[in-house]
């Protein structure tokens, strides 16, 4: 049973604080993904858990131990680095067995455990090679093998897939997920790629500028983004965000260009007359009539002119604009779209997110 608990965790370099008193509980066997743009403090947080970065304030629990002042080797964690960090002067076998050798495990046990790990990752035939002789995907596997062979309490992954090409990345993503099923362990995984975060995570932690913006399951953060940042960061293509003003009397929110949309039912009680808001519309929820995912739901109609269309096969992305702000819609089951064609778009009103204009907080979420 290995939970990881961060309490008030703070990191500062000199006067510059880069992680601001974050709290986070990671459950046993949980696959937790820290995601955010570069410089958001996610890697620093991971490195603090690993013990590679000193803690300025707060505490880190791994299991029931406070590990603040323990060296990395005393924390029983293992880490997969972005550049793999395989030891270039050792064979794959020696790389895998290095940690066990340092821990003075008996030669025979090392052999068994290394073989076992190699089998799990399908690298048994590479054992006598040097890291320089391996492809990117193979190196990645060896790095993961080195992590699992020690049977640590916690796995830490620091952007492990970002050096791989797109195809291999998708493949390794699936393998990491399978691996987690198989070795059942607490995982903390750092990435800047929201797709990776969505596909892998039990829970996602979205970070920005050293603060945690939201913690939740992939569907929670997608369906209930806590603020405009999370809304635009999670989901691809990103959420459209438009300024609007609430008109309770008319029961709608007026947008630019004389357009307006009905107030989503669930948010009605939380809005006040004349309130300035940001309306968040996912491209999936804005589609030409008859081409949407949510056609059957409560809807409003907007007539917009399409400047550019990007056919992707099963769907076409449509680019239009409202009040000079670019807006994307999605057409399922697509047909050809003429340049500058005016189309009637259907908006799934109850899926629209309303954020406060000041601060960007989702009106549905209490502080």
């Amino acid at each position: 049973m290995t939970e990881v608990r961060l309490a008030n965790l703070t990191k500062a370099y000199g006067n510059m604080e880069v992680v601001h008193a974050i709290d986070l509980d990671i459950a046993d066997n949980e696959f937790l993904v820290l995601v955010g743009p570069s410089g958001c403090g996610k890697s620093t947080t991971l490195r603090m858990i690993a013990g590679l970065e000193e803690i300025t304030g707060g505490t880190i629990h791994i299991g029931d131990r406070v590990v603040n002042d323990l060296a990395p080797r005393e924390r029983n964690v293992s880490m997969v680095f972005q550049n793999y960090a395989l030891y270039p002067h050792m064979t794959v076998r020696e790389n895998l067995g290095f940690g066990l050798k340092i821990a003075k495990v008996a030669e025979q046990d090392i052999g068994t455990r290394v073989t076992q790990a190699a089998d799990i990752l399908g690298i048994a035939e590479l054992m006598e090679r040097m890291p320089a002789e391996l492809s990117g995907g193979q190196r990645q596997r060896v790095a993961m093998g080195r992590a699992i062979v020690r049977n640590p309490d916690v796995f830490l992954f620091d952007e492990p897939l970002s050096n791989l090409d797109a195809k291999l990345r998708v493949q390794m993503r699936t393998e990491i997920k399978k691996l987690h099923r198989r070795v059942e362990n607490t995982v903390v995984y750092v990435t800047h790629d929201q797709v990776e975060a969505m596909t892998l995570a039990d829970r996602i932690v979205i970070m920005r500028d050293g603060y945690i913006e939201q913690v939740g399951t992939p569907l929670e953060v997608f369906n209930e983004p806590a603020n405009t940042f999370v809304g635009s960061f999670i989901g691809s293509p990103p959420m459209n965000q438009l300024d609007g003003i609430v008109r309770l009397a008319d029961g709608d929110i007026s947008l630019a260009d004389g357009l307006s949309i009905p107030i989503p039912q669930r948010t009605r009680a939380r809005l006040s007359e004349g309130q300035k808001v940001v309306v968040g519309i996912r491209p999936d929820d804005l589609a030409p009539r008859g081409h949407g995912i949510h056609d059957s739901e409560a809807s409003a109609e907007l007539e917009l002119s399409v400047s550019i269309s990007e056919p992707l096969g099963t769907e076409t992305l449509l680019f239009t604009s409202i009040g000079g702000v670019e807006v994307q819609g999605k057409m399922l089951n697509p047909r050809m779209v003429a340049p500058d064609e005016r189309m009637k778009f259907v908006l799934a009103v109850d899926r629209v997110h309303i954020f406060e204009a000041a601060g960007g907080r989702n009106v549905m979420i209490d502080n």
Binding site: A50, G51, P72, R73, L86, F98, I102, A103, R146
Partner: protein, 281 residues
Amino acid sequence: MPKRLNAVVSWVLTFLVMVIIGLPGLWVILSGFRPNREILAKPAVWVPERLSLDNFAAIFGLGDTQVAIPVANYFANSLVIAVTSTVIAIAIGMSGGYAFARFRFRFKNGVFLGLMLSRTVPGIALSLPVFMVWSRIGLIDTQFGLILVYVALNIPFTIWLIDGFFRQIPKELSEAGQVDGCTRWQAFWRIEFPLARSGIASAAIFAFLTSWNEYALASNLTRSTDSKTLPVGLMDFTAQFTIDWAGMCAMAVIIIVPALALTFLVQKHLIAGLTFGGVKG
């Protein structure tokens, strides 16, 4: 066949350059095996008529003629001084190089620049001040005095070279080692040191050769068999009216051989060391 012509031309040029560099050395070595009279003959005898070990025998006091030069003492001095100063310079160079490559500290760039600038001062320019200080504190004509000078002379270069090697090793390797169960110290010796070995070896060779061959400072700071090194010992072959070229050349051979042997032994590392930046960078 311009490609072939190219090859021929570069061969010839290389040969010419090597002749210019190599001939004096070859002449010294050959002269070491020839009698003085043949070396001094006019017109010059270009191709030796007979090679013998007589000069060496004389130096070591084995032959009929004897040269009263304590070569064994000089050799021992040279060895002790060169090896000790190299070991110290490498130990300090390794710690310093590692620190410059890995740690952030105040005045880092200034200190590094200072070390490099110290190399712009020709060693001989320091000989008088060093002589005065050494004579005050009684280090003249001691092995220790010379070791100290050579360590100081070698450290900036060893730090600079070794720093470059550690810089090439991603710091994640040491971190991976630490997560894998090493202390920082273990991670250094098991991971970073083996990877920087060729750089450290080349730094060591350079330091050793500098100390082994140095003449100017040694000739100022040594007096007797207590501390005189081989290059200084060469001057023993000059008398008021004569110079024993044969003996001197024989002794030069004795100086050259260990250096040459050592260089051959670590040749692979040396080449790797000198081209490291080019290949990886």
